[in-house]
């Protein structure tokens, strides 16, 4: 018994040290910074103030929060829209096919996400593959504006974050008891009511779990907004980045980061209230 504890201790120490040094300490530092003032040269004045938190509620920044949330919500919604048919289609397939398809979803994500995002430029730009194909097929006369706007950002976010939705949704869909669906069919339910009355209620926690994992990064991934949005739309991620680089206002950047963490906690609380298990968020 004692030996077992020692073993546990040895195994856990690196993780605990890692978490304290690289996650907890920086977070505490950011929390501390968010109550400081900044001087004109980007330095920090150690003088307590709440002004950074008031600044967040300036109309300029509120608009950015709303725009970011809208982009993140659209991406989340699109991810759900893609994940359901995919999972339902795979449900009837053999274990082997399922595993293969899920692996195929994961494989591209072993490549750096920045490179994959650049890859989208080749597809989406004015003279890109999609526009050229559509023009050559005489479907459109003028190239569509697929990127350098909010549409480009939503496409990029949806693509990058899709696996985080597919994994929980498909695992929830696979778990549904086949007899439930058969019973519904016997009682005369069509595909739509089966989806509405059985599949949705049975998988809602998976969807919420996926939504959290898509929505939260989607408000912060500034490189996608920069590359596919052409730097025109500022999302919260860009706003924070700017405070740390160009504006040299670390305290405000910290305050926005802390605010984002609070919002995230709020969403997790809602998830718990709706009956979600915290284990599901980490244990995929």
């Amino acid at each position: 018994m004692k030996k077992n504890n020692l073993f546990k201790f040895i195994c856990l120490t690196p993780v605990i040290v890692y978490a304290i040094l690289l996650i907890l300490l920086p977070l505490v530092y950011i929390l501390f910074l968010s109550f400081c003032e900044s001087d004109s040269y980007g330095g920090i004045i150690y003088h307590f103030t709440l002004s950074n938190y008031f600044t967040i509620f300036d109309i300029t920044y509120v608009k950015i929060f709303l725009k970011s949330s809208l982009i993140a919500l659209s991406s989340t919604f699109l991810c759900i829209l893609i994940s359901y048919p995919f999972s339902i289609f795979l449900r009837d397939k053999s274990e082997k096919t399922r595993n293969l398809m899920i692996k195929l979803v994961m494989v591209p994500f072993l490549t750096n996400s920045l490179i994959r995002t650049y890859g989208w430029i080749v597809l989406l730009r004015k003279t890109g593959i999609i526009n050229s194909a559509l023009i050559n097929l005489n479907i459109i006369d003028h190239p569509l504006n697929l990127m350098y706007n909010n549409l480009g950002i939503v496409i990029g976010m949806t693509y990058t974050l899709l696996p985080f939705m597919i994994l929980p949704v498909s695992s929830a869909v696979f778990k549904i008891d086949q007899s439930l669906i058969e019973a519904a069919r016997d009682l005369g339910a069509g595909p739509i009511s089966i989806f509405r009355k059985i599949i949705v209620p049975e998988t809602i926690s998976g969807v919420f779990n996926g939504s959290l994992m898509v929505f939260i990064p989607a408000i912060g991934y500034f490189f996608i907004a920069d590359i596919l949005g052409g730097g025109k739309a500022m999302i919260i991620g860009n706003l924070i980045k700017n405070q740390f680089l160009t504006a040299r206002n670390w305290p405000l950047g910290s305050a926005i980061s802390i605010f984002l963490i609070i919002v995230t906690f709020g969403l997790v609380q809602i998830y718990k209230k709706l009956g979600g298990k915290l284990d599901d968020l980490g244990g995929m």
Binding site: G42, Y61, T127, G230, K232
Partner: protein, 332 residues
């Protein structure tokens, strides 16, 4: 078998050591990415038998963070831009330069000296300069474009690429409105904001990394970008015309400076003096068409008089930067 592997590892390690120790000294350099061709560094190492430890950064703010967070003596030579030189001096992070140790400083054109950020060049000497210009693809646009205000034309909807730099772009709007590029008056900034909102529909993208790509792929026909970038685009596509806006332009000069507490001062002077040779400057500007402050035949076509007669440096504006940052968030 085991012995062979151990032996091989030992040989491998030793060979690594020996190649590192044949130099008689080092100089620790921190410079912008894509700024000095590799062979220029290599030639210096061979000539002086001094190893150059070359690190890079991609913004002045990143440089500031690296210098202020690392131990004194980590770096010897750095290349901050104008406003960052001023800031580093005020923070006491630089040491004075002894020009007697730089015999090649006679090659520097006096026009580039005694600038506002370091009035008597006590701490810095200019390395390379560039200015902001307009680039226009003449294949698609024949119109007469000479002023920033010409960009507001509704015809150019979704057709302009701008560098993603708030000081330069807000500065451009201020110049278009007839104000100083570093104006901090909030009413003038409001006018600049209106101007940029008028321009918004015409903007295809903000891109600092490679605005020239938009020209090469014909994604945009007008660009506000650094001069060197426009020259490179022009090499790819000869139909690009480079236009110097009538209201003036932003200048940026990167400078040689020596960090306070530098450990290899003599090597640092040798390195700077080497880069100030005319033939070395020619090699550098051949590859990267920036404007050299040395009295050489410039590859870049812009005249030095023009650079300064209508050029403005980005200046440190203290806490007013917060108003700029908010304006930037408003127009995006």
């Amino acid at each position: 078998m085991k012995k062979v592997i151990v032996l091989m590892i030992v040989i491998f390690l030793l060979s690594g050591c020996s190649s590192g120790s044949s130099y008689k000294g080092v100089v620790n350099v921190l410079n912008w990415t894509s700024y000095i061709p590799d062979n220029v560094i290599k030639d210096f190492e061979d000539e002086y038998n001094i190893k150059v430890n070359y690190g890079t950064y991609s913004s002045n703010e990143e440089l500031l963070a690296k210098i202020s967070s690392s131990k004194e003596g980590t770096y010897d030579v750095i290349f901050p831009s104008d406003y960052m030189v001023e800031l580093l001096i005020s923070k006491g992070l630089l040491q004075k330069i002894d020009k007697n140790k730089l015999s090649n400083s006679v090659n520097v054109d006096r026009t580039f000296l005694n600038q506002t950020y370091d009035m008597s060049n006590d701490y810095s000497l200019p390395f390379l300069s560039t200015i902001v210009v307009m680039a226009v693809n003449r294949n698609h646009l024949k119109d007469n474009i000479s002023s920033y205000n010409d960009l507001l034309n509704e015809k150019y909807k979704n057709n302009i690429v701008l560098i993603d730099d708030q000081r330069i772009i807000i500065g451009m709007a201020l110049l278009a409105k007839g104000y100083d590029m570093n104006d901090t008056n909030i009413y003038h900034l409001d006018e600049a904001k209106e101007w940029l909102l008028d321009l918004k529909d015409n903007v295809k993208a903000y891109d600092s990394d490679s605005p020239k790509t938009f020209f090469i792929t014909e994604e945009a026909d007008i660009g506000i970008m650094w001069h060197a970038e426009a020259e490179i685009a022009k090499e790819e596509n000869p139909n690009i015309e480079i236009i110097y806006p009538s209201e003036g332009h932003a200048i940026s000069t990167d400078n040689y400076t020596i960090v306070k507490g530098a450990k290899n001062i003599n090597n640092a002077y040798l390195f700077i003096n080497y880069l100030m040779r005319k033939e070395v400057a020619l090699k550098i500007t051949e590859e990267y068409p920036y404007i050299s402050p040395l009295k050489i035949t410039q590859k870049s076509k812009v005249s030095v008089d023009h650079v300064f007669s209508k050029g403005f440096y980005v200046k440190n504006i203290g806490l007013d930067i917060k108003n700029y940052d908010k304006l930037w968030a408003d127009i995006k």
